[in-house]
């Protein structure tokens, strides 16, 4: 019996993934607080934004920061697939209720699940690069 237990335990030890390559991704991996960074341009125009976002099951339930030089409030949500790929839209309002949005067309979460890099566009179709850094 003891030998069987030891053999099974050894097999489990060999099968359990070790280190950053943890298995699979789930929407719950987005839960918590993230810092969002965006930069894009088109011809003579530059767009940039940053903010602190709180996610719950993929939805931004709280978010504030800056859009260009104006204070901004954030909303929207992201979809995280099982392979770590990510799409979605981070939108917001600034100044006197004016709206903006950034669409992540192709993104990826790292294996440690504490960073996301993405590419896409803003609401005016200006090309953008995005980073999200998990803060807790």
């Amino acid at each position: 019996m003891k030998r069987l237990f030891l053999t099974l335990a050894a097999v489990v030890l060999l099968l359990v993934p070790v280190g950053p390559a943890s298995a699979g991704f789930d929407t719950a991996d987005l839960d918590g607080n993230w810092e969002f960074f965006a930069l894009g341009y088109y011809e003579v125009y530059t767009t940039y934004a940053f903010g602190s976002l709180t996610f719950d099951t993929g939805l931004i339930i709280q978010g504030s920061g800056q859009y260009h030089s104006s204070p901004a409030q954030y909303g929207g949500g992201l979809n995280l697939a099982g392979d770590g790929s990510l799409t979605g839209q981070i939108s917001g309002t600034y100044a006197d209720g004016k709206s903006f949005s950034y669409q992540i067309l192709s993104g990826r979460m790292n294996s440690r699940k504490d960073a996301i890099v993405g590419s896409g566009q803003n609401h005016l179709w200006w090309m953008c690069t995005f980073y999200l850094i998990k803060t807790n």
Partner: protein, 142 residues
């Protein structure tokens, strides 16, 4: 002997999950910035775009103490001053400065930045001395 081996294996089974997934409840100090970092920045302003890159070494107070293989646009450059500060929650601020062969002195000021929980990456939005809006990422070398 078997009992000891069983205890060791069980301890290993309990320890392994701690190695997977993101770190949680992390505190940050200036010492977390010590070491060499690859810096890459891309930015735009009006009709122009630019980039910076370089390998910079920060001391345990976040000050730039060494630089290698750096450029500002197509000009060779060196980051030779300034530094970054980090707050206990991971937020990063500060200003990096340097000298390019073609255009002389430059600086990059952090608008909003954070270190990741693994402490191997710093990301920030910044503005440089020519009003370029920059998205900067720094990846730890060692």
């Amino acid at each position: 002997m078997n009992r000891i081996l069983s205890v060791v294996i069980l301890a290993g089974l309990l320890f392994i999950p701690a190695l997977s997934g993101p770190a949680q409840a992390v505190d940050f100090t200036a010492a977390d910035m010590e070491g060499a970092w690859h810096l890459h920045a891309f930015g735009a302003y009006e009709v122009k775009g630019t980039f910076y890159y370089g390998t910079i070494t920060l001391n345990n107070e976040g000050q730039v103490v060494a630089c290698g293989d750096a450029a500002y646009g197509w000009s060779p450059a060196v980051f030779d001053g300034g530094g970054l500060i980090i707050y206990p929650d991971g937020q990063v601020g500060g200003r990096l400065s340097g000298l390019s062969y073609e255009w002389g002195g430059f600086w990059i000021a952090v608008k909003h930045g954070w270190m990741n929980l693994s402490k191997d990456k710093i990301t920030f939005l910044a503005e440089d001395y020519e009003s370029y809006q920059l998205l900067v990422t720094m990846v730890r070398v060692d």
